[in-house]
């Protein structure tokens, strides 16, 4: 019973993390049809930015909740700048090329940004554990839960709700949906697709950085953290259906719970299970759980 409960809570926390890193990726793919490898860099920059913010803020006797806020805001500001520079500076040059070629462009930028991190923050690793310690923990029965984990789940849920609401009920969200369905028709009806692209990419980048910032207190912020996140986020997005926010949510939950079950029951399968779930889903639903049928062009 305890194991089942532990699997559920661990799975939820891991799913929250997966959703936070996957939602930006799926948004960018849905709107721009770009599979953005640079998303791993957004995550890494977010985490490093958060670590810097924590280093500046804590140990100064300022209120602790403010430190968390400062950390998240700084990371998202970094994401905003990075996303804007990339979209206007690089991606703009390659729109219209093959989808696969654009993946490689983002891969090239990812390689470069990996070294930019070394140039800015150096090769050492950073800890940003203070917000996690400050949050404390609660006990429910025999189960000890970190309040920070609960916050993580809450923020992931908030992001899910806000993005769902924004897509369905705001003017900008509806424009976005139009562009997702058909870019050319949208442009013909006067939607400023260029602007939509820039804004979408920047929001996606900020979400990636938010994911990094939220995870920074839980991990050691060190070189190469972006590399692993990319494939994880890809797996989640592919499981759920690329470009679908609901898909990212369901994909994150499935993958998160399956991984937690593996960790508690058969630890050897931990890494294996994530991709096995994805492969299994793709065998039966080739384009993911929440994919739309695409018209065949002859």
């Amino acid at each position: 019973m305890l194991t089942a409960l532990a699997i559920l809570t661990d799975g939820l926390v891991y799913a929250a993390y997966l959703f936070l890193v996957a939602v930006g990726l799926t948004l960018i793919f849905g709107v721009m049809k770009i599979l953005n490898v640079t998303h791993g860099s957004f995550y890494a920059f977010g985490a490093y930015g958060a670590a810097t913010a924590v280093g500046i803020y804590y140990d100064r006797g300022l209120p602790e909740a403010g430190g968390f806020l400062f950390m998240v805001l700084l990371a998202m500001a970094i994401g905003l700048v990075l996303g804007f520079v990339l979209e206007r500076g690089v991606l703009r040059l390659v729109y219209g090329k093959d989808e696969v070629v654009i993946v490689l462009v983002t891969y090239a930028v990812f390689l470069m940004l990996e070294d930019v991190i070394v140039l800015i923050w150096g090769p050492r690793s950073y800890g940003a554990y203070q917000p996690m310690v400050a949050a404390g923990s609660i006990e429910i029965g025999d189960l000890v839960l970190s309040n920070y984990d609960i916050l993580l789940v809450a923020i992931a849920a908030l992001v899910a709700v806000v993005s769902y609401w924004a897509l369905k009920y705001t003017r900008y969200g509806r424009l976005l949906t139009v562009v997702i369905f058909n870019r050319e028709t949208a442009a013909a009806f006067g939607v400023n697709v260029t602007l939509v692209y820039t804004v979408t990419f920047v929001i996606g980048a900020m979400l990636g950085a938010l994911g990094g910032a939220m995870m920074a207190p839980k991990i050691s912020v060190t070189l190469g953290i972006g590399v692993e996140v990319i494939v994880l986020a890809f797996a989640v997005v592919a499981t759920g259906g690329m470009g679908s926010i609901e898909g990212a949510l369901i994909g994150a939950l499935i993958v998160g719970i399956c991984r937690a079950a593996a960790v508690h029951l058969v630890p050897q399968l931990e890494l294996f299970v994530i991709y096995a779930v994805m492969a299994l889903v793709l065998i039966f639903r080739p384009y993911g759980l929440f994919s739309r049928a695409a018209p065949r062009k002859i």
């Binding site: 462009v105 891969y107 931990e270 793709l282």
Partner: protein, 320 residues
């Protein structure tokens, strides 16, 4: 069947093999790895011509490498020809099996699924103690039909082996490109539905291409395992696959020779970049990739074709 390109290629391989003993040892080692990887890239070019980019080709590479490593660990077989053959068969078999699944996918989905499959192997390798876990394990030095070279002689012998296999592979693949199945790659890329209406099974065509490229990657991995004398799970990680795709873009899918030249250029670029600016070599690699995509979308191979075409263009006047 033998064209001028074949003869030029054979002469080039023979010339490299002849000067190898005079080359500095670091260059021989570098070229060995470069040509072993070029075989993987050759497989990627086959798929690339049909519009498919596998982001998980390291799967077959690692299968080839681990097949060699496991056999040299648990049996007394040491003959490199046998080991490479087993690596090729193992990778080809895996490619054949997962081909039933993978051949149904196109575009990004093909790339993603092949990525996922290679990451499954990575996960298994990392978590399995008997397969060496994260450290991997060493590969015993091989023998060549009873000949047991050591030290520099072994490196040279391995280089000649890689060259010989590369020459054979280059010849066979150039024949494949001229065959019906090979020339159908471009129509697959352009419009496969039309091809289906002409009575061609595109899935089977792609399945065949997958098996060929899997075998090539297996041979490359087996050779790399012998050359480095070590295998570890990173051989199956997605960054390894990314490196192969990188070289494919750099080389371009225009010709078989491009794979070898491109792979050599990539290894040289990487070792020079690591040497000159150890902290920032990825910036150089990334910029090289970006510049290639922006200004030389057909790869380095197209540079030669442009040079070859240039005199004709002037004689034909200002056609373009």
């Amino acid at each position: 069947m033998l064209s001028r390109a074949h003869i030029t290629g054979a002469l080039a391989f023979a010339a490299v093999a002849a000067v190898a003993p005079a080359l500095p040892p670091w260059l021989v080692s570098l070229a060995t790895i470069a040509f072993a990887n070029a075989l993987v890239v050759l497989g990627l070019i086959i798929l690339w011509r049909a519009g498919l980019v596998p982001f998980g080709q390291a799967l077959f590479y690692a299968v080839g490498a681990y097949a060699v490593a496991l056999i040299s660990r648990y049996t007394s077989w040491r003959d490199v020809f046998l080991l490479v053959a087993i690596g090729a068969v193992a990778a080809g078999l895996i490619a054949f099996l997962i081909g039933f699944l993978l051949a149904r996918y196109r575009d990004i989905f093909f790339a993603m699924l092949s990525l996922a499959l290679s990451m499954i192997l990575y996960g298994i390798l990392v978590k399995t103690e008997t397969l060496g876990s994260t450290d991997g394990f060493n590969v015993e030095p091989g023998t060549f039909f009873g000949y047991r070279p050591r030290g520099a002689a072994l490196n040279l012998a391995l280089f000649w082996l890689v060259l010989a296999l590369s020459a054979v592979a280059a010849f066979l693949i150039s024949l494949y490109f001229k065959s019906v199945a090979g020339t159908l790659a471009v129509p697959v890329r352009d419009n496969e539905i039309r091809l289906e209406f002409l009575g061609v099974s595109v899935n089977r065509l792609i399945h065949l291409k997958l098996v060929i490229s899997g075998i090539l990657a297996g041979v490359g991995g087996a050779l790399a395992a012998l050359a480095v004398a070590h295998v570890d799970p990173n051989m199956a990680y997605w960054t390894t696959s990314g490196g192969f795709v990188f070289v494919t873009i750099l080389a371009g899918a225009g010709s078989v020779a491009a794979a070898f030249v491109g792979s050599l250029v990539f290894e040289l670029l990487r070792s020079i970049a690591v040497d000159l600016v150890p902290g920032t070599w990825q910036i150089i690699l990334g910029s090289a990739l970006l510049l290639t995509i922006l200004f030389l979308p057909e790869g380095l191979g197209s540079l030669f074709q442009r040079l070859r075409r240039a005199p004709q263009k002037t004689s034909a006047g200002t056609a373009r």
